[in-house]
Each structure stands twice: as C-alpha cells, then as structure tokens.
C-alpha cells in the first residue's frame, strides 16, 4: 500500500489524493452496481423458487446474463416526458432518488481499516443522507402531473416520515450502548462482552440485548425502502405503479437502481449495527469482510422472503403500525436501555 502511495504521488503530484479517492469511490460503486444487478436476478430466482416456478433461465447459463440484458434494454428505451409535466423537476427527480443511495456509502466500513471516509459522526451522516431519498419520490410524483403518481408520492412521503422516527430511535439505542457515532467503533464495541469471553461472539452482538430494537429496525427498514409488504407507494393494484407510473427507460431504471442500492445499504447497516459487522460469530474463526457479506446476504434474503410471503398492508394499517406500535415500543425500550446502563447490571462497560 505504501509503495502504491509513493508511486501515485510521483505520477500525479499534488492531484494524487483526489485521484486516489476517485479510485476508491469507483472500487465501491462498481461492485455495488454489480450487486444491484444481480440482486434483481436473485430476487426473481428466489421468489420463483418460493412460488414453485423456474424464474429467468433463458439469457445465458442459468439466466445469469438476464440483468445485463434488462439494463441494456432500459438504456436503449426512449424517455418519454408527459406533455403537462414540470420538465426540469421531472428529469431531476430520478437522480435525486439515486444520488443519496450512493452518497451514503462514503462512510460505510467494510473492515476496521477499509472505509472511504472514517468520520466521527458517520451514523448521523447516514441518517441525514438516507432521509434525503424521499425527495426523489415526492418530486417525481408531483412533477409527473398525474393523479396516480401524486397519490403514490403522498403515501410515500407520509410513510417515510413516520418510519424514520422508529428507525431513528432504534439507532439511538445502538449509539447509547456503544457510546459512539462512528460505525467502526460500533462494530468494535460488539466484539467484546461476556459471551465473547466464552468464544460465543454472536451472543455479544447488539441484536440480543437490543432484540426489540433489532426487530423494529428490520421492519422500519423494510418500510423505508418501500418494499413489500409496505410498498403502498407503488401499490400496483390500487394506483397502477405509484410515483414512477409516468417514467420510462433509464429514468425508470434509476428509481429501480435506487431501490436496490438502498436495500443493500440497509442490509449492510443492519449487519453493522446489530449483527457485529465483519466480526466472526465464534471465537476460533478469524474476522473478515466475508462475514459482513454473509450477513448482508442473509438480511437481503429476509427482505426477498418477506416479499414473497406477506400481502401488502393497507395504508391505514401501515400508519397504525408506525405510530401506534413501533414508536411506543421504541420509546419504552429507550428508557429501559437508559436505566439498564445506569444500573449495576450494565453490560456495556
């Protein structure tokens, strides 16, 4: 690594830090986009398996080139702008949906040292950036000047604002017990504990002492992503396709990319905050980035599984769950954790 740094600074001079950062950004974004592409394939295959179908198997061996074919098709399609749309915002909205999904990755750590920007307040940064994703959806709905798109946008805005509260409280509990906003420190705090002393590291991770918060975070994450069973913003059977009903070609594909990139992001955050990130589940195995990927895959599978299992919630049920069930649970558990930490039984010293 040092040899690379010295070689680079010779070659590029003062511009080297910028070039190096760009290289690292590409090294994160390219695998991410590839992951998004193959997540769509995995979703279709897994749901196909659960519904006793075969799923895509025509393009390439086992249908492995299907996502590339889909991407190419969308790339070459015409982008149609409705006559009465607010043109500028209509074009910007998909970008606004996609940009936060990428920007949040700037602070996501993959191992103790492998992180693009190891800033102090990385958890806050992720909360702030992921709360911007809703604008893409609201603005696309408004700018399309269509009833269905507007209804979808309104639903989505209300839903995301309600579930952000529950999600925020779950995160507050995590940062209370690890007394840090830094994601690397949060993972390191989970690596020690009573059970970790016995070699059973997976019982020391945050999911066990914060079990209600873990469940709340999983549910709220699913709702924030507008994934089934919380996909009232799309609601095909009621409002056609919701906010992106007027979009075609690459503009539509950007919404799609944003949704899947966000899925991977929330899965990563769940793994980092509650499942110990890159730490290995048992003492005798080494820590490593593959544990993080394995945990992400497990959480992503859970999302796909729930899409194949649960029917869509009615809109009022979504609101009730967010405000009357998840929020009180969060408020109570916040106090429980606070009291627990002040009591002699505190396990997070």
């Amino acid at each position: 690594m040092d040899a690379l740094t010295s070689f680079g600074s010779e070659l590029f001079g003062v511009a080297w830090p910028a070039v190096w950062t760009l290289v690292r950004i590409v090294a994160i974004v390219l695998p991410l986009l590839l992951g998004v592409a193959y997540l769509t394939l995995a979703e279709r295959k897994i749901i196909g398996f659960m519904q006793v179908r075969i799923g895509p198997n025509r393009v390439g061996p086992l249908g492995l080139i299907q996502p590339i074919a889909d991407g190419l098709k969308l790339l070459f399609k015409e982008i149609i702008v409705p006559g009465s749309a607010s043109k500028g915002i209509y074009i910007i909205a998909p970008m606004l949906a996609f940009a936060p999904a990428l920007a949040a990755w700037a602070v996501v750590p993959f191992t103790d040292t492998l992180v693009l920007a190891n800033i102090d307040a990385s958890l806050l940064y992720i909360m702030a950036i992921s709360s911007l994703g809703v604008y893409g959806i609201i603005l696309s709905g408004w700018a399309s000047n269509s009833k269905y798109a507007f209804l979808g946008a309104m639903r989505s805005a209300a839903q995301m604002v309600s579930y952000e509260l529950a999600m925020g409280f779950a995160l507050i509990c995590v940062l209370m017990v690890s007394s840090s906003l830094n994601l690397v420190t949060i993972v390191q705090a989970q690596q020690s504990g009573m059970f970790a002393g016995y070699g059973l590291n997976f019982l020391s991770w945050n999911w066990l002492p914060l079990l209600p918060m873990f469940v709340v975070y999983l549910i709220a994450g699913m709702a924030e992503l507008n994934r089934a069973p919380f996909d009232v913003a799309e609601g095909e059977s009621e409002i056609v396709a919701g906010f992106h009903v007027e979009y075609s070609g690459m503009a539509f594909a950007l919404f799609f990319l944003a949704e899947y990139a966000n899925m991977i992001l929330v899965a990563t955050l769940t793994s980092i905050l509650f499942l110990g990130g890159w730490s290995s589940p048992v003492g005798f195995l080494p820590d490593g980035i593959f544990w993080l990927f394995a945990k992400m895959a497990a959480v992503l599978f859970l999302y796909l599984w729930s899409r194949a299992t649960f029917p869509r919630y009615r809109y009022d049920q979504v609101m009730r769950l967010g405000w009357k069930v998840l929020l009180p649970i969060c408020l109570i558990w916040l106090i429980v954790v606070g009291v627990w930490m002040m009591s002699p039984l505190n396990i997070w010293k």
Binding site: I89, D120, L124, M127, W142, F150
Partner: protein, 199 residues
C-alpha cells in the same frame, strides 16, 4: 486564495441565489425546493467551519423531516399567484422596515468584529468529537435552557394536536383495529347447507 475559501464562496453564491429564488419564484413548489437547496448549502458551509454535528443536524432535521412535510402541504394547496400578489404594494412598507431591521442587525454583528468585540469562535481541538462536546455542554452548562426548549416544543406539539383533534364522533364509521385483529372467518361468513334441487 486557498481551496477552502474557494469552496466557501462557491457555497455562499449558491446559498444567496437559492435564498433569492425562495422569495421570487412564481411557483410555490419551486420556492420550497430552493429553500431546501438553501438549507443543504448552509449545512455545507457549517461543515466547512468544522461544525459537523450542526451541519448534519440541519440536513437531518430541516431537509430530511421539516421540509418534507412542508413540501407535502404546499403540493396539496391550490395557490393562486395573482391573488397572492394583489396586496404587494400595501405590505411593501412593513416588509421594507423588517428587511432594514434585519440588515441593520446583521451589519452590527459584522461590524462588531472591527470594533474589537471578541466574536465567538469554534474552539474545538482536533481529535475531539464535536457531537460529544455539544452533548456535554447541553446537559451541564445549558441544561435549563435546553430543558425549557424541549418543554416549549412539547407544549407546541400538544397544542397542534388539541387544535386539530375533534374528538371521537360515535356517529362516524370507525373501525377498532383491536377488534379487527380478532375477527375470525366464522364471524363474517355463514356457510349454509342446502339440499340439492332436483327437477
């Protein structure tokens, strides 16, 4: 001029432009969008001052939550721009006075530095978490103002609910979710046994 100054002027230019567009945009939704841009740029300027907690907090609170609700409301309103502009000349004197007072106040702050009044400066050493410092100050030195502010916010929240809550009207069709959950198929569906009709 170093790079940081360049970034500062770049962000400031965007901020001033966005703020101007908030009051000049004809379409209220465009005005709200420019206000969002202004908040976002403001967060950028604070980040330049190394006040990372405030920078992220303004984006999280204002851009991520408050403005979403604002946009939500403004989108639903049917605003007639011409009627809004009718009283422009009547309100101009009041608005001009308020504007002048604000300019005067800002001028005072800016001039006070030249008059040797020590201005508040960010005195956080590097390596110290900004968030931790603010938290410690908020719960030690400034605990009473902080608690007071939260009580005021709570009162505001309850007041908003009290203003809009009309009470539960028994004549309105209202379904109790608790009872909904416990519904069984037997309660809704009656299976009849009928003899087969034969001609």
């Amino acid at each position: 001029m170093d790079f940081q100054t360049l970034v500062f002027y770049f962000l400031s230019a965007i901020l001033v432009y966005a703020a101007l567009r908030v009051i000049t945009a004809r379409n209220p939704v465009h005005a709200v969008l420019h206000l969002i841009l202004a908040f976002f740029t403001c967060g950028g300027i604070w980040a330049l001052l190394q006040a990372e907690f405030l920078a992220i907090a303004i984006i999280l609170v204002y851009v991520g939550a408050v403005m979403v609700l604002f946009l939500f409301v403004v989108m639903m309103l049917d605003i007639n721009i011409d009627r809004l502009r009718e009283g422009f000349w009547n309100y101009l004197p009041l608005g001009a006075i308020l504007g002048l007072v604000m300019v005067w106040e800002m001028g005072m702050v800016l001039i006070s530095r030249n008059l040797q009044v020590p201005a508040a400066r960010a005195a956080v050493a590097s390596g110290v978490s900004n968030t931790r410092e603010i938290g410690a100050l908020m719960f030690t030195d400034f605990v009473y103002p902080f608690e007071l502010a939260s009580v005021v916010l709570l009162v505001g929240m309850i007041a908003a609910i009290a203003l809009t809550y009309r009470g539960r009207n028994p004549s309105r069709k209202y379904t109790d979710p608790g009872r909904q959950v416990f519904v069984k198929a037997k309660d809704r569906l009656r299976v009849l046994q009928m003899p087969v009709e034969k001609d």
